[in-house]
């Protein structure tokens, strides 16, 4: 090897090593900067969960980590631990909002940007001992709007390739410049690491702060999936293999008022086949409240159409 290529490769090595150090510093700075808006929430046994100081005096958390409604504390980046009140929960998007006295603490810098597959991200949390935690990875899948299994509307499908650890749900999705670009949770899609985009969080926060809940459509029925017999399917020319049998009907509820009875089998709503209870949940978003929905029903071996006026789900205490 000639000496000139020796010195060239040596200076290459020096530049590449410097690049790694520079990236490392950027990531540590991003974690520190985003950490100024990440809080620890004490609302469950043992280990605190993470949350994001989203608007002044309001923090968002992953709803499934907020295990109690009262006696909640929040540990802040300035070291204080203060009392917090639960403003509301939306299990359909796994978001809960807590209110607290922020003092001079500024909320997170949130950026609603379109995340792309391959974008590098950090998940920044605050947990035991009020310490920051971080894990590093990339956006592994990104798509359009989607509905969670509980019927919640999420504006962008964002799946992450980051390590999931204690404190991940409720942690902040952070870009390499330290800006918050989402709320992380593993409670929306069978334990997968997902992020909720800021537009969705903003919408839910608005609802929870103003009304204390997110409105959901309501029919007033209890149901179970049931397999439709072959001969019936053939006779009535039904393509679906299952439906939802009504095992309870609230007499004053929307379905009861429309004449549905115990034993009726719900086949479709507005032409959309109902195979199980999740399909019904998905159909009953806030936009359906007060609207009529056409239900295809099987009763005593014959099919009929019933129009139901969708009501609003009453708030249940937890």
């Amino acid at each position: 090897m000639s000496s000139s290529s020796d010195s060239a490769s040596a200076s290459n090595r020096a530049s590449t090593a410097a690049a790694l150090v520079a990236l490392s510093n950027d990531l540590a700075n991003a974690a520190e900067r985003a950490g100024q808006g990440v809080v620890a929430i004490h609302a469950r046994h043992r280990v605190p969960s993470s949350g994001i100081h989203w608007q002044k005096g309001a923090a968002v958390a992953a709803d499934h980590t907020v295990k109690r409604d009262e006696d909640i504390q929040i540990s802040l980046p300035d070291g204080r631990t203060v009392a917090a009140t639960l403003a509301g929960r939306d299990p359909s998007t796994d978001i809960a909002v807590l209110k607290f006295e922020a003092g001079s603490l500024a909320p997170s810098e949130v950026l609603d940007s379109s995340l792309r597959v391959g974008n590098l991200v950090l998940a920044v949390s605050r947990t035991e001992g009020n310490h920051l935690g971080a894990s590093f990875g990339a956006i592994s899948a990104a798509g359009g709007a989607w509905r969670t299994w509980r019927g919640g509307q999420i504006d962008q499908f964002v799946r992450l390739d980051v390590a999931i650890y204690v404190g991940f749900s409720g942690s902040a999705l952070v870009d390499p410049q330290g800006r918050v670009v989402g709320l992380n949770t593993s409670g929306l899609a069978r334990g997968l690491a997902m992020a909720i985009p800021p537009s969705t969080v903003n919408r839910v926060v608005q609802d929870l702060l103003s009304k204390g809940h997110v409105s959901r459509g309501f029919l007033g029925i209890g149901m179970q999936p049931v397999r439709l017999p072959e001969d019936l399917r053939g006779r009535l020319k039904l393509s679906a293999e299952t439906g939802a049998i009504l095992v309870s009907v609230e007499p004053d509820g929307p379905a009861g008022q429309a004449g549905l009875m115990l034993g009726d089998v719900l086949l479709a709503l507005d032409g959309q086949p109902i195979r199980d209870t999740d399909d019904i949940q998905a159909h009953l978003g806030p936009e359906k409240i007060g609207k009529a929905v056409a239900a295809s029903v099987l009763r005593g071996g014959a099919s009929l159409q019933v129009s139901i006026q969708v009501g609003e789900r009453p708030r249940r205490g937890r």
Binding site: L27, N29, G133, Y165
Partner: protein, 205 residues
Amino acid sequence: MAANVAWREGSGASALFDAALATVGQKLSQSTVQIIDGRRGAGSGVIWRAPGWIVTNAHVVRTPRVKVHLPDGRKFDAELVARDPDNDLAVLRADEPDLPIAEIGSSTELRVGELVIAAGCPYGLRGSVSAGVVHAIGPVGALGDRLWIQADLELAPGNSGGPLANARGCVIGINTMIAGGLGLAIPSRDVEQFLRRVMLQKRAA
């Protein structure tokens, strides 16, 4: 591991990161050994200090004499000098000349989010490198008061006793266990304290 890493002008940040990681990983692997205790690969170790002082976990070494494999192909014996099961540290000594000594860094300056690189022999696969970031530095629930470096790394059995390095390639920890989806490492400061104790005891004896 790529032996030749070309850096092309204007190829962008991602290619740079790729090349940088390969370079640092390769340098780190040079002073990382595989420790064979008995007939099977038991774990990894770090050539910490001249002449021939190899640091590893106490749980990796259970016999007074073990075999050590270097990435450059050399194989030699090493003797167990001291074992501290409470801190899960052990130090071996090998007579082999011209051993590549690891560059040791300060664990006290580590920051959350900083890049870290682990080298070792997971599942007996020599020359393996994994990268992630520092998740947290502090005590871990059931493991008492001592401080652990927690990193979001993919570690596996066989990584125990191997080095955790910073972005400069300086060893700042010894990979010791996997817990809660994270890799836990003993900070280099604790290793230095352990080695000081061992030296003092040797002088006294």
